[in-house]
């Protein structure tokens, strides 16, 4: 990857983190931890990977995105705002009465959301349905989904994993955001999901393991997904929950709460410093 591209993407991921902090702070609630861990992934998807057009959000030939871990909507909303689907200012309406930015993504509230999500474990199934529709219609659009590691404890994720391999959905790419934490603590202590790579390979998936904050690795993984034929691809994205805000990093407590005024100032100062760095 060229240095200028990496720099541009790094700045986009930083802006995603700013949007996450700004919007959850304005809402006085929300889920910053798991939103910060997918900043690079959503920046890559909406700026490099997916064929989408802010002027035609319902284009039938567009690539689709399903945020299965729907509680991390602030990251998705910020990526959409940055990509031009709606103004940045709208991020400050997050979770407020009358907003298009529902606490969990709603496709009826906001036309650039491809699937309503929020109840964990359902997004891989709906993404499978879209990928199957593309095959039926002989269209070349691709379907992407991001799943949490705690979420992967849900049985439906594995039903869908079986289904995607059975119907050879090579137009489906599922990113597992492995930040290692869920509400009650460490995933490996609450309900161990390891070994994910072995499990997914056994289910018939192509598997790439990457550092989810490294754009060179992200680029290679999505390239592999595009080249893989006859089976779906899983990108195991090892990440840091709360990434980019020092006091949130690797803290399960930051799964689902917003910053206090002091914490907000500190987080914004860190993210501003990251731009100047």
């Amino acid at each position: 990857m060229e240095a200028s591209v990496r720099k541009e993407l790094t700045e986009l991921a930083r802006k995603v983190r700013v949007g996450v902090i700004e919007s959850t702070n304005a809402a006085r609630c929300g889920h910053p931890g798991g939103s910060l861990s997918i900043a690079e992934i959503v920046a890559w998807l909406y700026f490099r990977e997916m064929r989408v057009d802010p002027k035609a959000p319902q284009d039938p030939d567009r690539d689709r995105f399903v945020l299965s871990k729907g509680h991390t909507a602030p990251a998705l909303y910020t990526a959409l705002a940055l990509r031009g689907f709606f103004p940045w200012e709208e991020l400050f309406t997050l979770r407020k009465l009358g907003t298009r930015l529902q606490g969990h993504p709603s496709m009826h509230a906001l036309d650039c959301i491809d699937m309503s999500t929020g109840s964990l474990g359902q997004g891989v199934s709906t993404a499978c349905g879209m990928a199957l529709a593309a095959k039926l219609d002989r269209k070349d659009y691709r379907v992407y989904t991001v799943i949490g590691d705690g979420e992967s404890e849900e049985g439906q994720v594995w039903e869908a994993a079986m289904f995607a391999a059975h119907y050879r959905l090579d137009n489906l790419c599922a990113v597992f955001d492995l930040n290692g934490l869920q509400i009650d603590g460490e995933v490996k202590k609450v309900m161990n999901i390891a070994p994910m790579a072995d499990k997914l390979r056994a289910f018939g998936w192509e598997v790439c393991e990457i550092n989810g904050h490294d754009f060179d690795e992200i680029e290679r993984a999505f390239e592999t997904a595009r080249q893989t034929k006859g089976r779906p691809t899983a990108i195991l994205s090892h990440s840091v929950k709360g990434k980019g805000v020092s006091f949130m990093e690797n803290q399960a407590a930051w799964h689902g709460k917003a910053t206090s005024p002091e914490e907000y100032e500190k987080a914004m100062a860190e993210l501003t410093a990251a731009r100047e760095a």
Binding site: S125, C128, G129, M130, L136, A160, F163
Partner: protein
């Protein structure tokens, strides 16, 4: 006597008939192609049929994704595993986004028979009725079910269609000018002493009961509510106001189903005495469909007896 045929036959026949004119129609099943009769569609349109294996939750999600991408999807399985097991997937992935998915649930109610209580879904209408925007159709016979499949397929919103395993008289086949309209109840027999409101398999029983009552000089009005939601409140209240008492009959728990829906409508719009006949908040058991219907009071003779009791309430 009308020919007897299970309503699930109409699911298979209806889907197969629609397949050619609706290229966007996709049918899913969860290892129950043969017995739900979705198999008839598979044989005609194998490219648009997908078996999801025994994973109903995933099937509802796949259906939602297909619908979001422009397909009209029928997801077929038993009522127990559709409304019951996959309730939350139906709620969050289909009903909340308002997607074009038809949940086609067969083997509903106690007429499932020998399989017993684990498979006798008497809760599905209640569960589905609480979901905003969900249309619920419970056809009375084969011909009505055939029309219901087509009407729901043409609706762009979520629908729950309920079909039975047991063969029932195809009364609608013999009806000249039969017309099916979602949300519009059907006045099958006019009467003045009592209104009997039935749905699904109990409709033919209600008509037989009305004949028994007529032999005793009692005039019962019979209404077929094939669409439990949206409910034809206008028709129900008009009839109730005329006769002064109502009896509901359904192959479902009296809590949550047709009886509840009618009770809500009556008590808000035209309060009059109501008797609900159905599964009296109890579990079913193994036995032949006929034996079970008899044990739990779903026969024409039982309905006639209960109807007389309903009329007595009016006089009290």
């Amino acid at each position: 006597m009308a020919e007897k045929k299970a309503t699930r036959e109409a699911l298979g026949d209806g889907l197969k008939a629609l397949g050619a004119s609706m290229p966007e129609l996709v049918v899913l099943t969860a290892d129950l192609a043969e017995t739900t009769r979705a198999e008839y569609f598979r044989r005609a349109f194998p490219d648009r049929f997908f078996n999801c294996g025994i994973q109903e939750g995933n099937m509802m999600g796949v259906a939602a994704g297909l619908a979001a991408a422009g397909k009209t999807v029928f997801a077929t399985t038993f009522a127990m595993f559709a409304a019951g097991r996959a309730f939350e997937q139906i709620r969050n992935s289909i009903a909340y986004p308002g997607l074009n998915v038809k949940i086609a649930a067969t083997h509903a109610g106690i007429s499932v028979g020998e399989d017993g209580a684990s498979h006798q879904c008497n809760e599905d209408i209640g569960l589905m009725r609480t979901l905003p925007g969900m249309t619920i159709v419970n056809p009375a016979d084969y011909t009505e079910a055939l029309f219901a499949v087509e009407a729901c397929a043409r609706l762009k919103t979520p629908c729950y269609l309920r079909f039975g395993r047991a063969a029932v008289p195809d009364l609608s086949a013999g009806e000249a000018g039969y017309r099916f309209e979602i949300g519009r109840g059907r006045l099958l027999r006019e009467g003045t002493d009592v209104t009997v409101i039935a749905t699904g398999l109990t409709v033919s029983m209600a008509l037989e009961a009305a004949q028994l009552l007529a032999n005793e000089g009692i005039s019962a009005e019979v209404i077929n509510i094939h669409t439990v939601k949206p409910l034809d409140t206008a028709l129900i209240c008009r009839s109730a106001a005329k006769t002064g008492c109502v009896l509901t009959a359904e192959e479902h728990n009296i809590i949550g189903g047709l009886g509840s829906a009618v009770a809500e409508a009556l008590s808000e719009s035209c309060p009059i005495p109501l008797t609900r006949v159905g599964m009296p908040d109890c579990w079913g058991e193994s036995g032949s469909a006929a034996a079970l219907l008899e044990k739990y009071g779903l026969t024409p003779a039982d309905l006639a007896r209960q109807t007389k009791a309903a009329i007595a309430k009016k006089k009290a």
